[in-house]
């Protein structure tokens, strides 16, 4: 190449030209302003961005990383699998047989941990106890009003620490199950607490809900009803002699304007008795109803 950077002046000129060309590829994201504007009114003295990050990280360290370490470092993130039927009036949860692949990862000790990925039947009936097809029309969605002076602590919650999952040797027990839903409530709750200036309750941090709160850009499945499986390995960020394995499942995305018959299933089991969960669920159902196009 006939490049000539013989003097500092020539080098300077080349750098200016270089950066001018680079600038084309270095434009700020389009939505930058929107992301900033939403945070402009937060009170900086109580929770500047760095503090928020530290809080999140602290909560992660306390609950997430140790759990992954003791659990042999297997994190399963099931991506959205909400199946709304467009055929009948009932909800259909379709579980398709996923080709069981032997996942053997060489050169890392995880092969002792992960031998097979087995997808088992989803215990839907345990999650759905009673179905309600119509929300009472009289129940209006509650209007949100910001609290004038936030209380010193988050409103009472019913979280508790269920302890850690024990280590399981997959040589003896290679089958694992998980439910195909993507609940992100734990993460959303933590965010809203932080925005209101509270600490995150450690017991409220559910690793899977935090994992599922982010988009990992998983590969999409080849057809509408299958799954795509993505797996990868990383060094444990805190304990260098351990590895983390991630197995991600991605279901097909539901096209936005596909006509749907929507059946809302409200949980009315015993766990809904605490607090005002039933009212909240009713209000949510009503909010969904309002958002539907005729």
């Amino acid at each position: 190449m006939a490049s000539n950077y013989g003097s500092n002046q020539e080098m300077e000129r080349a750098l200016r030209e270089h950066f001018e060309a680079e600038a084309e590829d270095l434009r700020a994201p389009q939505n930058l302003w929107q992301s900033i504007e939403g945070q402009m009114d937060l009170q900086p003295t109580r929770h500047p961005v760095t503090q928020v990050r530290r809080k999140i990280l602290g909560a992660l360290k306390q609950n997430w990383f140790p759990m992954m370490a003791t659990g042999g470092a297997v994190a399963v993130a099931a991506s959205a699998v909400i199946v709304l039927s467009n055929t009948g009036g009932e909800i259909q949860v379709v579980t398709k047989e996923v080709p069981v692949e032997r996942t053997v990862i060489k050169e890392v000790p995880v092969e002792k941990v992960v031998r097979e990925t087995v997808v088992k039947e989803v215990p839907v009936e345990r999650m759905v106890e009673k179905s309600v097809t119509r929300a009472p029309a009289a129940q209006a969605a509650p209007s949100y009003t910001a609290p004038a002076a936030p209380p010193a602590r988050p409103p009472a919650t019913t979280f508790q620490d269920y302890g850690r999952q024990p280590f399981v040797a997959t040589a003896e027990d290679a089958v694992s199950t998980f439910s195909l839903d993507t609940d992100r409530a734990s993460y959303q709750l933590a965010l809203s607490w932080l925005q209101e200036g509270y600490d995150i309750e450690p017991d409220s941090v559910r690793a899977e809900e935090w994992i599922n709160a982010f988009n990992y850009g998983y590969e999409m499945p080849a057809d509408d009803w299958g799954f795509a499986v993505t797996s990868d390995v990383a060094l444990h960020p805190l304990e260098g002699d351990k590895h983390l394995v991630r197995v991600g499942f991605q279901a097909a995305e539901v096209a936005e304007d596909r006509p749907l018959n929507v059946t809302l299933v409200l949980d009315a089991s015993g766990s809904m008795n605490s607090g005002n969960r039933v009212d909240t669920a009713r209000a949510a159902a009503e909010a969904i109803r309002q958002s539907l196009r005729p």
């Binding site: 013989g6 600038a23 270095l26 900033i36 504007e37 060094l235």
Partner: protein
């Protein structure tokens, strides 16, 4: 709206006036952050963090002073403090994204090779040296502005720049020589 008018209106709490400043300087801030860190996802976070810090500190901003060096200084602080944090708290989620490396249609192959070469040479600089080069030739700060932005004396900026330029020239010359050699084969 001039920068000075925008600052004045920001100081009375007008979001729209701040938007004006954001739109004007976001590209130079984002580009600076990407060139300093090599990571778009991180850069986006840092630019957001810096702009929010600027908004919160704007009441103390002395009107009439240039806005860009002030914003760049806040950004540099955000980058440096995050670098310090990340040295301990590495979370290996897939936060990394890669720039589109394909040449744009107007570019000749040779120009693209030049770009790649310079990119590589910049990557070989120490963080301190890369920082002054990016702030001087990409963000286009003057030497006094740069000195204030990174909190060192002007003399230090000049000597870092001169050493960085020397190192770049050396690296590019040896790269060019290798290439000339391989072409001769």
């Amino acid at each position: 709206m001039t920068d000075e008018q925008a600052v004045l209106r920001c100081q009375s709490g007008e979001h729209e006036a701040f938007r004006h400043l954001v739109e004007r300087y976001k590209d130079v801030l984002f580009g600076t952050a990407v060139l300093m860190t090599g990571n778009r996802a991180l850069a986006e976070e840092q630019v957001q963090e810096a702009l929010l810090a600027a908004w919160r500190g704007i009441s103390g901003f002395q009107r009439g002073r240039p806005v860009k060096p002030w914003l760049v200084r806040i950004l540099v602080n955000a980058v440096v403090s995050q670098r310090r944090r990340r040295a301990i708290d590495t979370v290996p989620l897939e936060t990394y994204s890669h720039a589109d490396d394909r040449p744009s249609p107007g570019e000749t192959v040779e120009a693209n090779l030049d770009r790649e070469e310079i990119r590589e040479a910049l990557g070989g600089l120490s963080a301190d040296h890369r920082q002054v080069v990016v702030l001087r030739y990409f963000a286009d700060l003057t030497v006094p502005e740069l000195a204030e932005a990174i909190g060192v004396r002007e003399g230090t900026v000049k000597s870092r720049l001169s050493r960085a330029l020397g190192q770049l020239r050396e690296q590019l010359a040896s790269g060019g020589a290798r290439e000339a050699y391989s072409h001769g084969q």
